[in-house]
């Protein structure tokens, strides 16, 4: 909220947009670029955490399958598990980027 150009608050209030409406119509759209950057970073981190979690504690999921295959020396399952994680991570990142590009098409630094 503090990073929003104060000029935009002035512009909104002299046009009759005050109080909570200013949050939805000025603060939220102005913060969207930062929100999307955070979303993308968070998504990458979430993939790492979930796979590591599955490898150690949780009994189901890709990480658990990879660990089980490792114990049974099924290298082909280990490698395909790695590829699947890579593809899924890539696709989810692309989805966030595409959504961001569409929502941020007004921002010269995002096109």
């Amino acid at each position: 909220m503090r990073s929003v150009d104060p000029r935009l608050f002035e512009a909104a209030s002299m046009l009759g947009c005050q109080g909570t409406a200013q949050f939805y119509r000025v603060v939220l759209p102005a913060s969207l670029p930062a929100i999307f950057t955070g979303l993308r970073l968070g998504l990458g981190f979430a993939w790492v955490v979930i796979v590591v979690g599955e490898m150690t504690g949780v009994q189901t999921g890709l990480g658990a399958i990879i660990m089980e295959a490792r114990q049974l020396s099924r290298t082909e399952i280990v490698i395909s598990g790695m590829i699947v994680i890579g593809i899924a991570g890539f696709i989810s990142d692309r989805l966030v980027v595409l959504l961001g590009q569409w929502l941020l098409r007004w921002s010269p630094s995002h096109v």
């Binding site: 000029r7 002035e10 512009a11 002299m14 009759g16 947009c17 005050q18 759209p29 007004w106 921002s107």
Partner: protein
Amino acid sequence: MSVAKGEFVCLIGASGCGKSTLLRIVAGFEQATRGDALMWGVPIAGPAPDRGMVFQDYGLFPWLTVRKNIGFGPMSRGRPAKEVRDTVERFISLVGLQRFADAFPHQLSGGMKQRVAIARVLANDAEIVLMDEPFGRWTP
């Protein structure tokens, strides 16, 4: 100094002498350290849509198209959608930006942004229009 209805006043002075500050006090963005600022005899308490301001650096909303920037004021004041649309179209043609109605501010030249900033205030039915170097980059 007092300004009557329908009067057109120009402030001229060296840079730093307080032209912009005076406008900002009338707009309600700043408090006067001495003296009073009144409108229709009532002290100015803060920014309000009856006092529109055209900023030197435009202050357009970068995430809104030209059309939506001009419609921002009428929309915020809760005008009916049809009235907003009509008003917006009228002022877009007034400033001659029909071809750029759906462009975003970053796609416009300085003069075009300035025209949007002026249209946005006029479309909002402001009783007094405060303009800070409004025609500095005007290219008709």
